[in-house]
């Protein structure tokens, strides 16, 4: 494998029409016969599988370039059409040209004066945007089409109609493609620019085909079935039809057959050529395979999500990638990824052998592909060789500087890690490899937020950059530490999760004391070796060990000033790196809104923040493992009489609603402006019922035991909310369908057990019971209804927002900031003079702003 340094770039791509001359010139064969193979199964000369058009059979050689299967790119052929045929995709252009030019002299239907004027305008426009140009062209077309007498030769113009797909009719008389071609031929070069064509690049008559290029065999390979039978590609089938029809047409013409027969065959040829290009033209029955399956022809290969553009050109497949299930590992760092041995031994990094690393690399080669850490291939100037038992000795002997060893992944290698759907840039980040046993990728739960991952079976992809440039870019641009702050709103989104928060909360709650031995054990297990010289530690002091001495944070400065209760847990105060007041909750160390990391990030930067996150997380789990945490059904127990209060409250709401309904039925309900009485009623009912459910939380707060596991969990912010408690203990509340109370099902009622016209509380889907008490059948049904509704809703939302995002990305992908600070698109048009009016990069900012207070503090603090 010879690596060549490619210095040339493709600068631009020009699009032109293919001229008959060029079709002939680039063709290797003139196809004459529809037969594919001879009796021996060998490709026919002059057939559609002619060996000069490329090879697809292993062993055979291409008769044009002499290469074998994979090396021959394929070569075009052509057929000479007995009669010209219109190219469907150009029909609209031909139609315009016919109407805009004279039927006799071929000149554009504009006076010399007009021509002069328009040419001038075109000249000007071509220097400006293409939009102005296309507007001028549209105007020319419109003007020329409206002219009925040729200003050049005085010929009266007929009215030309296009009968889709490809028939032109002038004043009731059919124009054959020959006529059409002749007319197009007559248009002089000088008039072409006015019609939007460049005469140097193409002639309009080329849009009527006289020669048809035959795509190379490599484009339409046949497949051999297990039975040994050959199955041809759809394109080959279609081309066979064309060649066959063409042959018959030619024979009939030669034999002097009647015009009707010739016209029929001509039309058939037109049909085959049309469907060869595009098999889903409206008003043309699609060509079918013998089995009735619709043939996939050229256009089908290009368009759509699975077409050439979106599938192969804008998206590409890659090597050196892996995918498995992910699982959590609190002990690896947030910027690491645990990689199974199996994966590490399959994915490799090419390492160039030098005098300095040859001994080190030799070991990998010695280990080979089956022993970690080994190597799979060695690339020498002679080629790429797999290391096997047999080849190992030779390779080892020959190994010398200049060779490349493809070694297994090692700890510390940089890889890209990705979870779909990749909606924002944090869905692909660079991690450091940690090779671990077992077959899942391991990640720290701290980084699940940016990936939007959980561990209920999620899978993720891993890619190994293969060049130094790729690795350098990954390191500088993509590492986790560079993506702690989201560019969406400028705050860290990475942070503590469930157990970490609960652990830290329990540790820092109150004034519990821990002996030094315990603290030593705890801190050592999270990798902190230096601890203050003290016999006893409070939980807050333990947490403070992680904080630097110059770190300060006040949750609520106003409240703190007058506060005398030092050491209470009401609000957080960190002074000189000591957590003085407050328990650590989600507010402080959680992702998204974690204040601690937010402040810390501003002061100490990404690396240290990431490190702190890891340590806080570890401290949380380690402590939680000592402490334990459990929740129980008893957490939802209410003292006697309390549940009755909830029921009472709900009853009251029900009564209120009944009153409203009565009012409504009597027609006395005063409607809100712009609303019908029914809408007003619905709104009011919703309001009352939701209020009732929320009110039950007051009862809960009063009677529910506070020191339970469930409540602790909620208070710390680790998981769950008061709403969840209400749902369990009190009631589920109103179930909604499409944002409204449930109002459909049977005729005039929601379920057959209600009276007709019942629009009451229960019939509308209000669930009085909580999960603990259990739902009655009616409630259960409505709950299921609401559940299905939200499921359907989600299913509709995903594709909609997906399409929106695709459009957004497509519209904005070329927009970038230039060196002069302006924001421009790919053609250099200025969109903003300064990004966001102040040029601030949101991901570098503090919530889209600059924290002047912090700067002042820093300046004054220093002196």
């Amino acid at each position: 494998m010879n690596e060549q340094i490619i210095k040339d770039k493709i600068g631009a791509i020009e699009f032109r029409l293919l001229s008959p001359k060029l079709i002939k010139k680039m063709a290797a064969v003139k196809v004459l016969t529809p037969e594919l193979y001879d009796a021996d199964g060998y490709p026919m000369d002059g057939g559609l599988m002619d060996l000069r058009m490329g090879v697809i059979d292993p062993g055979l050689r291409c008769r044009t370039c002499g290469s074998k299967v994979r090396d021959c790119p394929g070569h075009f052929g052509y057929i000479e059409l007995a009669r010209p045929v219109i190219h469907v995709e150009f029909v609209d252009y031909i139609y315009n040209f016919l109407r805009a030019t004279c039927r006799k002299c071929g000149r554009i239907l504009l006076s010399e004066k007009e021509i002069e004027k328009f040419k001038e305008r075109l000249e000007m426009a071509s220097k400006e945007e293409s939009l102005v140009r296309s507007n001028v062209l549209d105007e020319i077309l419109k003007r020329a089409k409206a002219t009925s007498v040729c200003p050049h030769c005085g010929e009266k113009q007929g009215k030309i109609r296009l009968k889709k797909p490809t028939t032109f009719i002038e004043d009731g008389v059919n124009l054959t493609p020959i006529d059409v071609r002749e007319r197009l031929e007559r248009i002089p070069d000088d008039d072409l620019p006015l019609l939007g064509m460049n005469p140097q690049a193409g002639r309009p008559e080329w849009m009527v085909l006289t020669l048809l290029p035959i795509p190379p065999v490599t484009v339409r390979p046949s497949i051999t079935l297990e039975t040994g039978e050959r199955s041809e590609d759809d394109l080959t089938h279609k081309l066979g039809d064309i060649v066959r029809t063409n042959q018959r047409l030619a024979e009939n013409i030669m034999a002097g057959a009647p015009q009707i027969i010739i016209d029929d065959l001509w039309e058939l040829l037109q049909y085959h050529v049309t469907t060869f290009f595009n098999n889903s033209v409206s008003q043309v029955p699609p060509a079918r395979h013998r089995s009735g399956r619709i043939l996939k022809t050229l256009a089908d290969r290009i368009r759509g999500k699975e077409g050439r553009f979106r599938h192969n050109l804008a998206g590409k497949r890659v090597d050196f990638s892996a995918r498995t299930v992910i699982s959590p590992d609190s002990y690896i760092k947030p910027d690491e990824v645990g990689v199974p041995y199996e994966v590490a031994m399959e994915l490799t990094i090419p390492e160039r052998v030098t005098e300095w690393n040859i001994e080190w690399l030799r070991k990998f080669v010695e280990n080979g592909p089956d022993k970690y850490p080994g190597a799979n291939y060695v690339i020498t100037p002679q080629g790429r060789k797999r290391i096997t038992k047999e080849t190992k000795e030779v390779i080892l002997q020959e190994l010398m500087p200049g060779h490349i060893v493809e070694r297994h992944l090692l700890d510390g290698d940089l890889v890209l890690f990705n979870r779909q759907p990749s909606l924002h840039r944090m869905n692909i980040m660079a991690h450091r490899v940690r090779v671990l046993p077992y077959k899942t990728f391991r990640i720290s739960p701290v980084v699940t937020a940016p990936y939007n991952a959980d561990f209920d079976g999620d899978e993720m992809n891993l890619h190994v950059p293969q060049t130094e440039e790729a690795r350098a870019e990954a390191e500088v641009l993509m590492e986790v530490k560079h993506h702690l702050v989201t560019p969406r709103y400028g705050l860290p989104i990475v942070g503590g999760k469930q157990d970490y928060i609960l652990g830290c909360y329990l540790l820092t709650l109150g004034k519990r004391k821990f002996p030094r031995s315990f603290v030593e054990q705890l801190m050592f297990s999270i990798g902190v070796e230096e601890i203050p010289d003290k016999k006893e530690f409070t939980g807050k002091e333990i947490f403070s060990i992680l904080l630097p001495k110059d770190f300060n944070y006040v949750e609520d400065p106003e409240k703190c000033k007058g506060c005398k209760q030092k050491g209470s847990d009401a609000c957080v105060l960190i002074k000189n790196g000591q957590l003085i007041c407050g328990a650590v909750t989600k507010k402080l160390i959680g992702g998204g809104k974690g204040k601690l990391f937010q402040e810390y990030y501003k002061l100490y930067g990404p690396e240290k923040t990431l490190d702190l996150m890891h340590k806080v997380a570890l401290l949380g789990v380690e402590f939680l493992m000592h402490e334990g945490a459990s929740i129980s059904l008893a957490d939802t127990d209410l003292p006697e009489g309390a549940y009755e209060k909830i029921v009472e409250r709900l009853k009251k709401a029900e009564e209120e609603v009944e009153k409203l309904i009565k009012l409504y039925k009597e027609g006395k309900l005063e409607p809100y402006p712009g609303r019908t009485p029914r809408e007003t009623l619905e709104g009011a009912m919703m309001g009352i019922l939701n209020q009732a459910r929320d009110d039950t939380s007051k009862v809960l707060r009063k009677y529910l035991k506070k020191n339970t596991g469930t409540f602790t969990m909620i208070r710390s912010g680790a998981k769950g909310s008061t709403l969840n408690l209400i749902l369990m203990v009190a009631c589920l509340g109103q179930q909604s369908l499409r944002g409204e109370r449930i109002n459909r099902g049977f005729k005039e009622r929601t379920l057959s057990l209600f009276k007709k016209g019942d629009i009451g509380v229960r019939a509308g889907g209000f669930v009085m019971h909580g999960y603990k008490k259990g739902l009655d059948p009616v409630e259960f049904f409505f709950h299921a209804v609401a559940g299905r509704d939200s499921l359907v809703n989600k299913g509709m939302r995903t594709p909609k927002s997906g399409y929106l995002q695709r459009r957004l990305v497509n519209a904005l992908q070329d927009v970038k900031v230039l060196y002069d600070g302006t924001v421009r698109d790919s053609s250099g048009v200025i969109i903003q003079f300064k990004y966001g009016e102040d040029g601030i990069d949101v991901s570098k900012s503090d919530h889209g702003d600059i924290d002047i207070d912090m700067i002042i503090e820093r300046v004054i603090g220093v002196g």
């Binding site: 402006p673 519209a811 992908q813």
Partner: protein, 384 residues
């Protein structure tokens, strides 16, 4: 150096930031040298957080708006709030704005009143009622078509007249004004007679519905009004918009009154206003959903939609159709059309965008793909 840093800050920093700096300096009573030092540090920080040249801000913006899209509700109407105008919210509204649809699905105006009117609830309610467009149809309890005499007889509904505060005379005048050559008369029994010129029955039916549709008073287009208390003043929300007419009304505060119809705003107030309207409309939806997106992203979207003076949606007919690159257009939607038209017109794709270069396996011209440093490798055997 020294004292000049504050002055330099005034030049370098954006106005808003400079004002914030001054405010903070005042609040903490920082003066002289120290103030200069703070200013210097703020400038330094401002320069640090500047966008890096080459940053693909477009993609970042697209992601920042697209990513939270999955979290937005699909429910079209806002229902829980009782006294609220029905407006489209959530994802459908965002799509509507970004698509640049000609008319919003729920056109609405928020009318602010001049100070002297905005306090008094009764006055505001009266004004609001006057805004509703009243057509003849709304005021009528019965219509008789007298085919024999080719005339129409409309019975006015007293209740409706009172509701809409319209006098029968007014109706007569309006009809006379519109149908100048028809014989319109207010009869003594309270009916209105319209004598028609035609004798053709079909024609008469057509005319009847036309007459019924006659505008009598109010602001054309406004179907509902809702006075709402907004902090200290009363504002009026409407269903249906007609910004131009409303702004002309004497009691309306023309500086704050706004419509949610982007095209209308562009027409009445200009493209810059439309650009701000796009920002505000999207922002309001996102805020309501509790989704935080930095304003700069919305600005970039709004600017790309309006920078050439016309409103272009994020669709294949809008922004994408304006791209110079054939391949970029082709990769989005309907590739064949673009390729064939490019062939006829002999277009050249300059390959300056992202997808084009992805397609041909070349570095993309954003970010680290921009700098073109070539290092000439000297081989050991090469001569100078």
């Amino acid at each position: 150096m020294g004292l000049d840093d504050l002055k330099r800050a005034e030049q370098v920093l954006p106005k808003k930031l400079y004002e914030k700096l001054l405010e903070r300096l005042k609040r903490y009573n920082i003066k002289g040298k120290l103030a200069n030092k703070v200013a210097r540090e703020v400038i330094k920080e401002y320069e640090r957080v500047q966008q890096t040249p080459g940053e693909a801000v477009g993609v970042v913006t697209a992601q920042s708006i697209g990513e939270p899209g999955t979290q937005m509700t699909l429910n079209v109407f806002h229902f829980a709030g009782v006294a609220e105008m029905n407006v489209t919210i959530g994802l459908p509204r965002v799509i509507e704005v970004l698509d640049a649809r000609r008319t919003p699905s729920t056109p609405s105006m928020t009318i602010y009143l001049k100070k002297e009117y905005a306090k008094d609830e009764k006055e505001v309610r009266r004004i609001a009622a006057e805004l509703i467009e009243v057509k003849l149809n709304d005021l009528i309890s019965d219509t008789v078509m007298d085919l024999l005499n080719t005339r129409l007889l409309f019975t006015l509904d007293k209740g409706a007249l009172r509701n809409y505060n319209v006098k029968p005379k007014q109706v007569e005048e309006m009809l006379k004004k519109v149908y100048k050559n028809a014989d319109v008369k207010l009869l003594k029994d309270g009916r209105i007679r319209v004598k028609l010129k035609t004798e053709d029955v079909g024609e008469m039916y057509k005319l009847k519905s036309k007459v019924l549709d006659t505008y009598i008073k109010g602001v054309p287009g406004v179907t509902h009004v809702l006075p709402i208390r907004d902090k200290k003043e009363w504002i009026i929300k409407t269903a249906g918009t007609n910004l131009k007419k409303v702004l002309e009304l004497p009691y309306v505060d023309p500086e704050r009154t706004i419509s949610n119809d982007i095209f209308e705003i562009a027409k009445v107030l200009g493209i810059e206003a439309a650009r701000n309207a796009i920002i505000n409309e999207v922002k309001e939806v996102l805020d309501r959903q509790g989704i935080e997106v930095d304003i700069r992203h919305l600005m970039l979207i709004a600017d790309t939609m309006t920078f050439d003076g016309k409103i272009r949606g994020i669709t294949r007919y809008g922004i994408t159709s304006q791209k110079s690159s054939i391949l970029a257009r082709a990769s989005f939607e309907i590739p064949l059309k673009h390729i064939f038209s490019a062939a006829v017109k002999n277009e050249v794709d300059p390959l300056q965008g992202v997808v084009e270069n992805v397609m041909i396996n070349q570095p993309v011209p954003v970010g680290t793909g921009i700098p073109k440093l070539i290092y000439k490798v000297k081989r050991s055997g090469d001569k100078e």
